[in-house]
């Protein structure tokens, strides 16, 4: 399983404007091209955030949730124009946001966990983060991820 095959250019939003965690989630959810009820998805994500921020540190957050209506993992990558407080564990503001939606069915759990594990591992690397922060287009982001995976 490769991240570069899951994260598509149309699922990348660069330099969006937001002020709060709720704004960020609304923008990411708004980009999910599917038949989900955006409001339900948003409230599900907010509920999960209340139980612990998905800001994993070093300016990266990974809001995630599993839903019945999903067959295989969906990732929306957002980069905010300015760093935002996301209640991250290291208290650092975030600029890179990976919304990960996964299926609830048990047999697909592995792929969902693998997706988040790959994102979390890649984002530990400062050079990788810098490349994603500097990229000028979604195509460049996908190319960078592909390059790193190879």
């Amino acid at each position: 399983m490769k991240l570069s095959e899951i994260i598509k250019e149309e699922d990348i939003i660069l330099d969006f404007k937001a002020n709060t965690k709720s704004d960020v989630l609304k923008i990411l959810v708004g980009n999910v091209k599917n038949h989900f009820d955006a409001d339900s998805l948003l409230s599900l994500l907010m509920e999960r955030e209340k139980l612990g921020s998905t800001g994993v540190g070093e300016g990266v957050a990974l809001p995630h949730v599993r839903m019945d209506a999903i067959e295989s993992p969906i990732v929306v990558l957002g980069r905010s124009q300015k760093p935002l407080d996301f209640d991250a564990i290291d208290k650092k503001p975030c600029r890179l946001f990976f919304l990960v939606l996964g299926p609830t069915k048990q047999e697909a759990q592995e792929e969902y966990l693998q997706t988040m594990a790959k994102i979390s591992r890649l984002m530990r690397d400062v050079e990788v983060r810098q490349k994603l922060l500097r990229a000028k287009t979604p195509a460049e982001i996908v190319a960078r991820i592909k390059e790193l995976e190879n």
């Binding site: 999960r48 209340k50 139980l51 612990g52 921020s53 994993v56 540190g57 995630h64 599993r66 564990i89 759990q109 966990l113 693998q114 988040m116 594990a117 790959k118 979390s120 591992r121 530990r124």
Partner: protein
């Protein structure tokens, strides 16, 4: 008597995978105390070197595999916790187990550290396991609960 002595519990997980019973007990305690759970996995540098001796993989390949497996396990336990309504954050560090546990427990102001003692380990691995548990207990003023 203090009603809620533990507000932040740091739970150290290991790559060996904690028994369901251990996770159940940790969740039970967190619920009773209305505590926030900080789940920490430490990728042991020494373990990477040990593994290198027994495989054809490079250090980087072993690290990548251990990191991804660690994150998968963390997200798995995080979901179990959040499904029970337990406030949870996850954390993965690379380093020396006892050093990382003590550093994060202090930084995040944990008031209880929980670690599981692996019963099935033998020989060298068992001695190392007991080594870091001993060092954690010896070097912190935070209460430590070891689940057997």
């Amino acid at each position: 008597m203090e009603q809620n002595p533990f507000k932040k519990i740091l739970f150290l997980i290991t790559s060996a995978g904690e028994a369901k019973e251990t996770i159940r007990k940790v969740h039970g305690l967190a619920r009773v105390c209305h505590a926030k759970l900080i789940i920490l996995n430490v990728i042991d540098k020494m373990q990477i070197q040990r593994m290198k001796r027994f495989t054809n993989q490079s250090t980087t390949e072993i690290e990548v595999e251990m990191e991804e497996n660690g994150w998968k396990y963390l997200y798995f336990i995080e979901e179990l916790s959040k499904n029970q309504g337990i406030p949870t954050v996850i954390l993965q560090n690379i380093g020396v187990v006892e050093t990382e546990v003590l550093k994060e427990a202090t930084r995040l102001k944990a008031d209880l550290i929980i670690a599981a003692k692996q019963q099935k380990k033998t020989g060298h691995i068992r001695r190392l396991d007991q080594g870091y548990l001993y060092k954690i207990v010896e070097n912190t003023s935070i209460p430590v609960l070891i689940i057997k």
